[in-house]
């Protein structure tokens, strides 16, 4: 178990651009120029995302992919070790028409609560999915073997095909419901 973790760690460390982006957000969170009169939680928020450690011996920590607003075909390279209270990998998929045609986005993260859900909002199908096993939240179009869209073999996988055919169906169900 040690070896794969180390590999993951190495992988994560190599993905500087991706990591940098996430850190940038956290910093932006803190750049509060609102003065001292507010009680912004950001000021004292503990780093909730567990760091990638090999020390959590004996305790199974859930790992989830963690990415925001990926478009179809984009792969998620960031893996997050969830804190103990977070027992779900949660994903939000939006599928709807934009000014430049139909667009699907996929966001996923570690979460403490998760309720599966689907509803068409203003013409956009919003789907929330939940799963509870390690790295269960790969984007549906991403190759589960870790070869992302960037690799030459990154052909659309079976899962992606399933989702592609599933989405209009879900949308139809949601429309009937609404």
């Amino acid at each position: 178990m040690k070896v794969p973790t180390a590999v993951l760690l190495a992988l994560l460390l190599c993905q500087q651009p991706g990591r940098g982006q996430v850190q940038g957000e956290e910093e932006e969170d803190n750049d509060t120029d609102f003065g001292l009169d507010g009680y912004d939680d950001d000021d004292e928020e503990e780093e909730e995302e567990a760091s990638v450690t090999t020390g959590g011996r004996g305790r199974a920590v859930l790992q989830c992919y963690s990415c925001q607003a990926l478009h179809r075909g984009e792969s998620c390279d960031r893996i997050q070790n969830c804190v103990h209270s977070h027992s779900f990998c949660k994903a939000v998929i939006s599928h709807g028409n934009t000014g430049s045609g139909p667009l699907t986005t996929y966001s996923t993260w570690c979460a403490d609560t998760c309720q599966p859900f689907a509803k068409t909002v203003e013409g956009t199908l919003m789907t929330v999915t939940c799963c509870q096993s390690t790295l269960c939240n790969l984007p549906p179009w991403q190759d589960p073997l870790g070869r992302g869209a960037g690799s030459p073999q990154g052909s659309p996988s079976l899962v992606a095909t399933v989702l592609l055919s599933l989405l209009p169906g879900l949308q139809a169900v949601a429309s009937v419901g609404g």
Partner: protein
Amino acid sequence: MESKTLFLMALGIWLQSLTTTRGWVAADDRITGGRDFIDIESKFALRTPEDIAEDTCHLIPGVTESVANCHFNHTSKTFVVIHGWTVTGMYESWVPKLVAAPYKREPDSNVIVVDWLSRAQQHYPVSAGYTKLVGKDVAKFINWMAEEFHYPLDNVHLLGYSLGAHAAGIAGSLTNKKVNRITGLDPAGPNFEYAEAPSRLSPDDADFVDVLHTFTRGSPGRSIGIQKPVGHVDIYPNGGTFQPGCNIGEAIRVIAERGLGDVDQLVKCSHERSIHLFIDSLLNEENPSKAYRCNSKEAFEKGLCLSCRKNRCNNLGYEINKVRAKRSSKMYLKTRSQMPYKVFHYQVKIHFSGTESDTQTNQVFEISLYGTVAESENIPFTLPEISANKTYSFLIYTEVDIGELLMLKLKWKSDSYFSWSDWWSSPGFTIEKIRVKAGETQKKVIFCSREKVSHLQKGKASVVFVKCHDKSLNKKSG
């Protein structure tokens, strides 16, 4: 604004002249007790759930039988309602409502109405002075109940409105043991704003003192409701100055609908809102309104205070958590204009990027929130100024519970319906993410542009953001 207040005052005085002839009714038939209680002028009526509107049975200090006669329940809580200054010399229309609500919530309790109408219908400064005597009367009554019947003061909750709040405070300071709780319902401001703690409501007057400030408009000392915090927890709904639904337009509409009968209520609409907020908290127990600690109204309006850490948020009204901070704390919330008053608060943070060099002032936007349960569309908000590459935070609120947030739409309104300057070169910014913090659920949600980056242009189509992250704030990890 000042002229409006003057108009309301004039209306009040005119009303008084209309009703003085009727005012004498309640002053007679004084009920007095024995020996030590001869100087008690206030009367203590134990009302029943069956007859919430009439003082049919009085508890008379010194007269032991009176307590059994009125079927006082010795094993339950007691609410003591203390009215304020009255122009008519009669009970106002809220009194039966503030009797009915505790009975609905605590059917076995005792709701006592303190009648000090004769002292309360004097010139304001005279009546204000009488709060000392009324407080003394109430304290004597409570001490007698404790000594004669071993009734625990831990079961006593005083509810004082306007001048009645200060009478309750004085009563609390004079009881042999501290009463459980005093709720001050917009305690009177004139003559009390600068008064020392012993002669007004203060945190020492009960085990716990909570205060609602609803009509604190005007300079300190002239405002109807006291401006400074006087309890352990002081809540300022809608900033505390003035309440929604209480403007003149609303008043005229109500007069047209119901006639002049309720005019006294309209004059004191914001003042009296404190009572109805408390009633709301008794009746709608399952979802109490939350108030948030904040150093200033302005910071609250920016959405900076929606935190529940370290007791920074609390329930308004009956279900309040008894938090006693070293220094009194001001808490804020928004409300609806009618019962149920609860709203849902959100802090929205947006970073505007771009090359726009001009700073724009007073720009109007509309935001729509879509959730799992419902949606709230086209909520307007104004940013006093915006310029590129800055983050702005502001507060919005919805009357409906929209559930878990899913999607957000943002629109930048043009200045006028058809503005030529915007037509030729409408200013715009790019936005990647919008951060929203929900006060009621203590969740932080990040919304991402579907196209990675969205272009928000003044007067143009709204842009859509979808949820791409969320996080609970109250749960401790581990």
